[in-house]
Symmetry: C2
Subunit: 235 residues, 2 copies
Amino acid sequence: MKLLLISNSTNPGEPYLSHPGQQIKDFLGARPVRALFIPYAMVTGSYDDYESRVETRFAEMGHHVTGIHRCDNAANAVEEAEAIVVGGGNTWALVHRVHADGLMEVIRKKVLRGTPYIGWSAGSNMACPTLRTTNDMPIVQPASFDTLNLIPFQINPHYTDVQPEGHGGETREQRILEFIKVNPDIRVVGLRESSMLLLDSGRLRLIGNPKARIFQEGADPKELSAEDDFSFLLQ
Amino acid sequence: MKLLLISNSTNPGEPYLSHPGQQIKDFLGARPVRALFIPYAMVTGSYDDYESRVETRFAEMGHHVTGIHRCDNAANAVEEAEAIVVGGGNTWALVHRVHADGLMEVIRKKVLRGTPYIGWSAGSNMACPTLRTTNDMPIVQPASFDTLNLIPFQINPHYTDVQPEGHGGETREQRILEFIKVNPDIRVVGLRESSMLLLDSGRLRLIGNPKARIFQEGADPKELSAEDDFSFLLQ
């Protein structure tokens, strides 16, 4: 299985999909790939615009995307995809639509058979067992919280240590500590911006400068860097 | 119907339940009240500790609370309550438990009959039609997203204008704009910290210095102050 799970599409002040650009290019390989793009996390803009924004960047890398929303038969499009790319936005909107169209199991099986999967933000969340570590507002109720279950742990994208000044709400760490209290059997990776997880040949590693913060019930949170082996998370 | 819906329990650096203390006291009236306290939003601490923290503050105001988790018959406890107080924490944990115990409709009917309801943070969210404007992590899947439906609009507690520096995730405003796009018939009140909504004698008003930000699909967001009449939100 080949997964590239990115925290965020874009660092503030940088062009769209700039920070993970080289990694996406390397991940897809030397031969030009036409990937199936799933834009359903987009809420306030159009799927066409989203597709075209992603296509612009992929074309620069020598690859291309086709939006699943333009395919007559979405399940067939998944079956025939050379790669699957799931963009960020609202995780609830994404998961709602993927369930509604009956695609969750179709995508899962396709990726388990070896088709490369790239996700960022909501797209990384959807690779997890459930969407229960999303930061997004639950603007729509999906048929289920269950998602692709490609990895046995949860990712929290856009993980941040910052608590805005004067803000009395929970910190991100507090929210994840609540998660592992209620779900003690599942580990959570707080994936800071500008970083990503790469799964290839059964090995999981972190790419990017920021460390990742690993949460497990009964243990202190742990900071691991790109030098560390993350494969223990697969067991 | 009498509702006091508070954004946040505590401003940073202030004692627990300090900023809304006088309002809670006034809302409950001169006669000492023993309120039923619902602590189910608490995840990482104990219900007993949560009850005792709230009791300390209520006792200073001349009132008292009893935790519903200690009542043999929770539905009876709601029926007999002089007031209902719902504390903050994780909205999903709260709504999950209230549904699981079959209390949503019991509380709703009781409050519609005139029993005063006080909520803060998750407790304010639960007074809305659904929990779909919560900021909390969906650590557990409730039987339904539907909540007390005591008011016909949504509250977003801890509303903030701040985007942490270097953070590429959505702003709070962007999240709510997504909500009204998908739910165009429902207005959202962004309730900033240190403020609250008071519904009494059919009139809705804002209490506190920060303005509230009103979101409605098809209109620009609007800033209203404690000088304005909020009752239009009830229609």
